[in-house]
């Protein structure tokens, strides 16, 4: 008997400077094969991971930001972004990529993957998880 569990990936690091963001994405994609209830949380410098317009041509590193757009295809459709973390960095939701997923039950209607939440709402969502993976 398989029981569906709630998994949250907690992302708190900026991309490129360390390997955390890329590793998190790798684990999310692997974990997606297990058909659990998966969500991602972007908190603190983690919000920088999904900035739009990333251009790594001159640094000689792979720009892995387009991969976040593919998460919907793996049924990873809940990306919580903490409002306070954006504000502290002078960012708004318009600075982030427009990430969507297609709802099979509603004739493949496109829906937003990003869920803008307050610190309090995120803390609530976190408390409802069975497992939280930190990156």
């Amino acid at each position: 008997m398989s029981e569906i569990k709630k998994f949250m990936y907690l992302n708190r690091r900026a991309p490129y400077g360390t390997i955390y963001a890329w590793e998190s994405l790798e684990v999310v994609l692997i974990g997606a094969a297990f058909e659990q209830d998966v969500s991602l949380a972007f908190v603190d410098d983690g919000v920088y991971q999904i900035m739009k317009g990333q251009d790594t041509a001159e640094v000689g590193m792979k720009n892995f930001s387009p991969t976040y757009s593919a998460l919907g295809d793996y049924e990873v459709t809940k990306l919580y972004v903490e409002k306070e973390s954006l504000e502290e960095r002078g960012l708004t939701i318009d600075d982030l990529m427009d990430l969507k997923w297609e709802d099979e039950d509603e004739d493949w209607a496109e829906k937003d993957s990003i869920i803008l939440v307050s610190r309090e709402e995120l803390s609530q969502a976190m408390s409802e998880q069975d497992v939280v993976f930190s990156f």
């Binding site: 900026a14 490129y16 920088y48 739009k52 001159e58 590193m61 600075d95």
Partner: protein, 102 residues
């Protein structure tokens, strides 16, 4: 002795930028690179205030690292100059030594 200080950590995660600016003397230069480049982006009030308080110090940001992170030149804090890798080498050569705030 003139110094080139480098900061490669996010100002939101580490105190490297604050320490660096607190120790950099007039006439020295500070270059933000890697995750340090977030310190050169407009809009974060606390960080911007620290950068603007650094008078008499030349402030630079490494363009390739700034762009990699989705930041464009129009988001640069006033007074910060963008340099490329060749500019980084020139800065290192122009100063007597490099002090890295890792």
């Amino acid at each position: 002795m003139s110094e080139l200080h480098t900061v490669n950590k996010s100002p939101f995660e580490k105190s490297s930028l604050e320490s660096c600016l607190g120790h950099a003397q007039e006439g020295s230069a500070v270059l933000l690179l890697e995750d340090g480049v977030y310190g050169a982006a407009k809009g974060a009030a606390a960080v911007e205030a620290k950068m603007k308080a650094a008078t008499g110090i030349k402030l630079y940001v490494l363009g390739p690292d700034f762009k990699a992170r989705g930041l464009s030149a129009d988001r640069l804090i006033d007074g910060v100059e963008m340099v490329d890798y060749a500019g980084f080498v020139d800065l290192a050569a122009e100063h007597d030594k490099v002090v890295a705030w890792v």
